[in-house]
C-alpha cells in the first residue's frame, strides 16, 4: 500500500465486494458495447390493429398519439402476408421475404409422410443416444430445438454492421435466432409441456364442461373435510423408460365459512379470496434426484362453494432459469426477471382457451390479460429508458388477443351476440387501442429528431361468424374419400380418410394440399398437368362456392401458391391458400383433419374476431413520422427500409423494397 491511503483501500474493498454480488451476465452486458448510431429506429408492433377501427378512432380524436404521428408523418394500410396469419406475417417483416423465402406458410404445416399436422415454426427433438439402467434412461447428448423460419432476421444483418438492436417478444422467433443482439422470443414460445399452452382446471363439477376440449385439462376433484388434494401435471419424465407424466401434488384448504382458501404447493403457501389471482409461483417438476424442470404458473380461485373451481395457468418457462432457449443472450431473460420478477414467457400469454371453455369469464380473462399488459408495459419503460442507439422493436400481443375474443361484443351479427354482455364489454377493444396509444405517446416523447418511429400491425381484423369445413367440402365435391362414411365426423387427424382415393386435403388455417405422388407418402395425383388442372379446378370451385344459408361467397380468393410465392422454400408450400370472405373462416374442426357433416356452420365460439381471411380485406397499419414514398407498402418492405436507413446493402433474397 505505497501509493494508496487507508480510505482508498477501504473504498477498493467495498467496490470489490460489490462486484462479487454482480452476476457475470451483468458484468458482460455492461461491457459488450456496440456502435452508437445517430439515426435510431423504434418499431412498435401492435399485433392485429385494424386500419379502419384505428382511422375511425383517430378521426374522432380518441387516439391522440396515433393522430399526432399521422399528422407529423404518414398513415397507410400495410399489406399483409398470404395468408394473413401472425407467424407468416411477422416472418415477412423479419426477413423481408414472402413465405416462399422464409418457409412459414401457416401456424400448422403437415408431415407429407404421415399427413399429421406439425408446428410450422420450430422443431424439438430429444436425445438420440441413451443409456438404460433399470427403469431409467440417461441421455448421452442434449436434445435440440430448431427454428424453422429460414432467412436472416433484420437484427442479424444489423449485427453484421455493428448496429445494436433490441427485439422484444417478436413472433416467429422461437427458439431465438442466433445473435448477440438482445432478443426475447414471442409467439411460438411453448409452455414447459412443449405446447402452445395447456391450462389446468380443477372442479367438483366437470360435467359442466365440454369434454371435447383441447388446450386445457379438466380435473375432477372432491372437497373432503374442507380440503382438496390435487395434482398439477408437468412434462413427461424422459429419464424413466415409460416416460410417465411428472406431477406436483398440492392441497387447497378451504375455510368452512369464508370464501377464501389457502393453497400449499411445494414451498409456497398463499391465501386467495374467491375471484383472486395469485402472483407467479416458481415450481419444480422432479425427474430424478439431480434433475428437475422449473416453471412458473399462477392460480385463480374462481369459486369456493357450492362447487369448487380453481384455474391454474399453463406452466410457463421460468425466465430466471429457462429450461428451453427463450432469449439471446441467454442472460437477457434473466436480466428482465431480476428487474421485474417472473413474467409470462409463453408465446401468446393470455389464455384464450380458458375463456372459450368458461374456466374464465370475460372479466376474469381481462384481469389475466391486464397482468400480461402490466408486465409488458414495465419492460417497455425499462427498454425505452435505456434505448439510445440502433433499433428497438417492441411487441404487444393483447391487441390481437382481445380482438379475437371480444369482437362478438361489437358485432351485432355474431351468432353469440349478447346485448347485456356487449353493453358491459363493448369498449374492451377500444381500451386496448388506447393502451397502444399510450405506448406510442411515451415513445414519441422519448424520440428525438433523428429517431424514426414506426407503429405497425401485421394484419387487421374481421368478424368470424361462419365456419367452413373445407375437408367436408372436398369430400362432398369428390376430392376426399372416407374409409367409412358412417363414421364421418367421429375421428380427427384423417383417421377415416382413404388416402388411396383422396386427391386433396386441408391442414392448418388456410392451407390446402394436393395428395401428390412422390411427395405425400400415399399420393395419387401426378405432378405436372394432372396436378395443375386439379389445383385450378378446386380453386375455381371454391371461389364460386356460396354459403347455402346466406348466399354469400365463402372464399373471396383461392391463391395458387405457384403464383404468389417465390424463394428457396416454395417446395413446402400448400398448393392452394384460402382467402376467406369477410365473416368466414376455416372451421375449428378442419385444421386438425376432422370432417363434420355440415359444410358451413355458425361460429358459436367466443373467438369471434379473426384475420385468416383474404389479405386484401384485412391489411395492417403503418404509421410513421416520415412521409411514405411507396404507394402500397407491405410488411416485407420494412426490413429493407431499416437497412437502407443505415446504408446497408439489401440482400438479393429480400423481395421488399424501402418505403422511404
Amino acid at each position: 500500500m505505497n501509493n494508496i491511503n487507508r480510505r482508498e483501500f477501504l473504498k477498493l474493498g467495498l467496490a470489490a465486494g460489490s462486484l462479487l454480488t454482480l452476476s457475470p451476465s451483468n458484468i458482460l452486458s455492461k461491457t459488450l458495447g456496440k456502435k452508437a448510431t445517430r439515426k435510431k429506429i423504434i418499431i412498435l408492433g401492435f399485433d392485429g390493429i385494424d386500419p379502419q377501427l384505428l382511422k375511425n378512432w383517430m378521426e374522432q380524436g380518441k387516439l391522440p398519439a396515433f393522430r399526432r404521428l399521422w399528422e407529423s408523418g404518414d398513415f397507410k394500410p400495410l399489406r399483409t402476408s398470404i395468408p394473413p396469419q401472425s407467424p407468416v406475417a411477422w416472418s415477412n417483416f423479419i426477413t423481408g421475404m414472402n413465405p416462399g423465402g422464409h418457409g412459414i406458410y401457416d401456424f400448422i404445416h403437415r408431415d407429407p409422410d404421415t399427413y399429421i399436422p406439425i408446428f410450422s415454426a420450430s422443431k424439438t427433438s430429444g436425445s438420440n443416444k441413451k443409456i438404460s439402467i433399470g427403469g431409467y434412461e440417461f441421455p448421452l447428448s442434449g436434445g435440440d430445438v430448431k427454428l424453422l423460419r429460414m432467412g436472416k432476421a433484420f437484427w442479424q444483418i444489423l449485427e453484421d454492421y455493428d448496429i445494436p438492436c433490441t427485439v422484444f417478444k417478436i413472433p416467429s422467433n422461437y427458439p431465438p435466432a442466433d445473435t448477440k443482439q438482445r432478443t426475447l422470443s414471442g409467439m411460438g414460445t411453448p409452455d414447459i409441456l412443449g405446447t402452445y399452452g395447456i391450462c389446468n382446471f380443477y372442479t367438483t363439477k366437470p360435467s359442466e364442461i365440454d369434454p371435447d376440449i383441447g388446450g386445457a385439462r379438466v380435473h375432477e376433484v372432491y372437497v373432503i373435510g374442507n380440503q382438496v388434494h390435487a395434482k398439477l401435471p408437468g412434462p413427461d419424465n424422459a429419464f424413466k423408460k415409460e416416460h410417465p407424466e411428472s406431477y406436483i401434488d398440492f392441497t387447497v384448504y378451504i375455510d368452512p365459512m369464508n370464501p377464501v382458501a389457502k393453497i400449499k404447493i411445494q414451498n409456497h403457501e398463499f391465501i386467495l379470496k374467491q375471484g383472486e389471482w395469485s402472483k407467479w409461483k416458481r415450481i419444480n417438476f422432479n425427474m430424478i434426484p439431480t434433475q428437475s424442470v422449473k416453471g412458473i404458473c399462477n392460480f385463480f380461485l374462481k369459486q369456493v362453494r357450492p362447487e369448487f373451481k380453481l384455474y391454474v395457468s399453463p406452466v410457463n418457462i421460468d425466465p430466471a432459469d429457462p429450461v428451453l432457449p427463450i432469449s439471446t443472450p441467454k442472460s437477457y431473460s434473466k436480466e428482465l426477471e431480476k428487474e421485474f420478477g417472473p413474467f409470462f414467457t409463453k408465446g401468446l400469454p393470455a389464455d384464450t382457451s380458458a375463456l372459450t371453455y368458461g374456466f374464465l369469464d370475460d372479466g376474469e380473462f381481462i384481469e389475466q390479460d391486464d397482468l400480461v399488459l402490466k408486465e409488458r408495459l414495465d419492460i417497455f419503460d425499462y427498454e425505452l429508458k435505456r434505448f439510445d442507439s440502433g433499433v428497438l422493436f417492441y411487441y404487444l400481443s393483447s391487441t390481437d388477443q382481445r380482438q379475437h375474443m371480444f369482437w362478438r361484443h361489437i358485432d351485432k351479427l355474431s351468432p353469440i351476440y349478447d346485448e347485456k354482455l356487449a353493453s358491459q364489454y363493448k369498449d374492451t377493444i377500444f381500451n386496448i387501442y388506447q393502451t397502444a396509444d399510450y405506448v406510442l405517446d411515451k415513445t414519441m416523447k422519448k424520440a428525438d429528431k433523428d429517431t424514426i418511429i414506426m407503429a405497425i400491425s401485421d394484419h387487421g381484423f374481421c368478424p368470424f361468424r361462419r365456419q367452413f369445413n373445407i375437408n367436408t367440402w372436398l369430400k362432398e365435391n369428390g376430392y376426399h374419400k372416407l374409409i367409412d362414411e358412417r363414421k364421418q365426423g367421429d375421428t380427427s387427424l384423417f383417421m377415416n380418410t382413404d388416402w388411396n382415393k383422396t386427391q386433396a386435403y386441408a391442414i392448418g388455417l388456410n392451407g390446402l394440399y394436393i395428395n401428390q405422388k412422390n411427395r405425400e407418402s400415399r399420393g395419387i395425383v401426378s405432378p405436372g398437368t394432372e396436378k395443375d388442372n386439379l389445383v385450378y379446378e378446386i380453386a375455381r370451385k371454391l371461389e364460386n362456392y356460396k354459403d347455402p344459408e346466406t348466399g354469400e361467397n365463402v372464399i373471396l380468393k383461392a391463391f395458387i401458391s405457384d403464383k404468389v410465392y417465390s424463394g428457396a422454400q416454395t417446395s413446402h408450400s400448400p398448393d392452394i391458400v384460402l382467402g376467406f370472405n369477410k365473416g368466414y373462416r376455416i372451421s375449428w374442426a378442419s385444421p386438425l383433419g376432422r370432417l363434420p357433416k355440415k359444410i358451413v356452420e355458425d361460429n358459436r365460439d367466443k373467438w369471434s374476431g379473426d384475420h385468416c381471411m383474404a389479405p386484401q380485406l384485412i391489411p395492417g397499419i403503418l404509421l410513421t413520422n416520415r412521409k411514405i414514398k411507396k404507394a402500397s407498402p407491405s410488411l416485407y418492405d420494412l426490413s429493407p427500409t431499416m437497412l437502407k436507413i443505415y446504408g446497408i446493402p439489401i440482400p438479393e433474397n429480400m423481395v421488399g423494397t424501402p418505403i422511404f
Binding site: 452476476s23 373435510g225 365459512m257 369464508n258 391465501i271 386467495l272
Partner: protein, 276 residues
C-alpha cells in the same frame, strides 16, 4: 437462565452487526465468520492437547517419508501405512474434545445468525401470511380469534381456518416501515407478534414465536415466548427467505458461514500459534 443468555447473546450480535446493517450482508457474514474462526482457534487451543496433536502430525509425516524411502520394501511400506493409520486415530482422538466443546458456542452462533441472515424483511406492499397454530384441544372454526387493527399492516383476507391442522391463517400486506408488534386477541388472551417491514439489508427477523420451553427458548431466542398455557402454540409470519448473492448465484448463508469460518481458522492458526 435462558432469558439472560438470549438477552446477552442478542446484544452481542446487535453490537457486532451495527456497522454493517446498511451495507451488503456479505460484510456482516465476513465479520461473523472471522470472529467464529478466531473463537474456534481459541477454543481449540484451550481444550486440545497441542503437544499430542503436534506429535501425531509429525509421526504421520515421518511415516509418509518412510513409505517414500522404502517404497521397494513391501513389509516396511505396509508397516509405515499401519503406523500412519494409528497416528491418524491419535490425531482424531486429540481433536474430539475440542470439537465437542466447540459445538455449544457454534450452535449458539448459528441459531442467532440465522435470524440475521436467513430471512428478508417484508417490502412495503409485500404480502405475507400470518399463521397461528392452536393446541390440539382447540378447533380453529370454534375458536374466537382476531387481529387487532393497526396502521402498519393491512389484513387482506378473512381467516382460513384449517381444523385438521389446528391452524388459522390470514394474508396481510405490509404498509409501514419499521419493526412493529401485531396484536392478536385469542380468546381472553392478548398476544403479540413482531413484524419487520422495509428494514435495512442486514436486520434481525423473527419468523416464528413459540410457547415457552427450554428448547423453544434456545431455538427461537429473538422474541419473548408465548405463555406456557396459551391456547396458541405458535405464531408465524412467512418472510421471504434470503441468501447471499455471489457471481449471480444465491448461496445459503450457512454454507458461506462454514466455508469462511474454516478459511479464517486455517489462515490465522499461525498468528495465534495453534496446532490444528
Amino acid at each position: 437462565m435462558m432469558n439472560v443468555l438470549n438477552a446477552v447473546l442478542s446484544k452481542i450480535f446487535e453490537i457486532i452487526f451495527i456497522p454493517f446493517q446498511n451495507i451488503n450482508p456479505w460484510y456482516g457474514m465476513i465479520v461473523i465468520s472471522l470472529l467464529t474462526g478466531i473463537l474456534m482457534l481459541y477454543v481449540f487451543k484451550l481444550t486440545s492437547d497441542q503437544e499430542g496433536i503436534k506429535k501425531a502430525k509429525n509421526k504421520i509425516k515421518a511415516h509418509l517419508l518412510e513409505m517414500r524411502l522404502y517404497k521397494n520394501d513391501l513389509i516396511t511400506s505396509f508397516k509405515a501405512q499401519g503406523n500412519i493409520l494409528v497416528s491418524n486415530f491419535k490425531y482424531m482422538r486429540h481433536s474430539v474434545k475440542p470439537l465437542l466443546v466447540m459445538i455449544i458456542p457454534i450452535l449458539l452462533i448459528i441459531i442467532h445468525s440465522n435470524f440475521w441472515f436467513a430471512y428478508d424483511p417484508l417490502d412495503i406492499n409485500e404480502k405475507a401470511l400470518l399463521k397461528i397454530k392452536l393446541s390440539e384441544e382447540y378447533t380453529p372454526s370454534n375458536f374466537d380469534i382476531k387481529i387487532i387493527g393497526n396502521d402498519f399492516v393491512n389484513i387482506e383476507t378473512p381467516p382460513v381456518r384449517i381444523d385438521d391442522e389446528h391452524e388459522i391463517a390470514w394474508r396481510f400486506s405490509a404498509l409501514k416501515q419499521g419493526v412493529h408488534e401485531i396484536e392478536i386477541q385469542a380468546g381472553e388472551k392478548s398476544l403479540t407478534k413482531s413484524v419487520s417491514i422495509g428494514q435495512r439489508p442486514l436486520s434481525k427477523i423473527s419468523p416464528l414465536k413459540k410457547r415457552k420451553s427450554i428448547m423453544n427458548e434456545l431455538l427461537y431466542p429473538v422474541e419473548k415466548p408465548l405463555d406456557k398455557n396459551s391456547p396458541v402454540k405458535s405464531i408465524e409470519i412467512s418472510y421471504p427467505t434470503s441468501g447471499l448473492r455471489i457471481f449471480g448465484m444465491n448461496i445459503h448463508w450457512i454454507i458461506s458461514f462454514f466455508i469462511l469460518s474454516i478459511i479464517f481458522g486455517f489462515s490465522l492458526k499461525g498468528l495465534f500459534g495453534v496446532e490444528i
